[in-house]
Chain length 147, copies 2
DNA sequence: GTAATACCTCAACTTAACTTGAGGTCAAGC
DNA sequence: GCTTGACCTCAAGTTAAGTTGAGGTATTAC
């Protein structure tokens, strides 16, 4: 297959640096779309490469796939997304990243000398009491939630 | 049980704000230790409260439990850890946090205007190329070149 | 002395983001 | 025209950090 206008899953994998299994997975999550050829094999538009690129960058930013899928909902169906379309999304993620960075900086500033001091009590220490809300957050498996 | 010198798992849970099941879990991971009373129930030294506090703070820093357990290996067995002992650990985590913050800041700086541009290729874009492999080739950053 | 808690163990379930494998089809090269 | 490699689906496994539940014992309160 030499056509550049449509890509097989293997070609997308190679060009994007993402495993075929991951591409399948992204498709089940609605992050990318494909049509099938006569033999039931996936075919992608070239545009999928940008989508995958954006997905990978978003992941570096710490955005979960579900949120990425959600952001992609706002993308136009009819036409290929423009730079402006993508920027609308990245502005949001950039703001989130800013927040995360600021939170970590605050945490770092609080950390100095505090972990070994006597104040790590649930009620008194700012390190234990993030937002002054006392263990109000629902429990559950959360990977790196605060980061 | 009114003794303050030793705590039941429920008391530790209440005072630390951590679920009993989580304390059990931490114990299986070697993060905390207990002995048993006549009726096979766990008993903890008061000191466990600090350990749990440190665990929770470390998690906010983004340190995985396995790493926390590892760091705790360096703690003295014979005596109760001192502020200096804890600081030795927190210094390491603080450095890691610094690194993480710096990485995110760099990422943020690269993000601006880049996600919507034409450069999200695996080879050219710094956002796709975390390790900065291109720098070695003297290609130079071309963030907006392809758009 | 008995009912209500608190505790015990062990197995299975949860979420995220995938990977691995089994069993089978399709396409491409020679 | 046949073999190799790419692709298909679907189920199950993986890691982290726990939670939930079942079935049973201990402790506490009245």
């Amino acid at each position: 297959m030499k056509t550049l206008r449509q890509l097989s899953v293997g070609q997308v994998a190679k060009r994007s640096g993402v495993a075929v299994s991951a591409l399948h997975f992204y498709e089940t999550k609605g992050l990318i779309k494909s049509w099938r050829n006569a033999g039931n094999q996936r075919r992608y538009p070239r545009e999928v490469l940008r989508r995958v690129a954006v997905i990978k960058v978003a992941q570096r930013l710490g955005v979960p796939l579900a949120d990425i899928a959600n952001a992609f909902q706002g993308l136009p169906e009819a036409r290929t997304p423009t730079a402006a379309d993508w920027n609308k999304i990245s502005d949001i993620w950039r703001a989130q990243l800013d927040q995360r960075i600021n939170g970590l900086i605050k945490l770092r500033d609080q950390l100095d000398g505090c972990i070994g001091c006597g104040c790590l009590s649930l009620k008194v220490c700012p390190l234990r009491n993030p937002e002054d809300k006392l263990a109000e957050q629902g429990t559950g498996a959360r990977l790196l939630s605060g980061s």
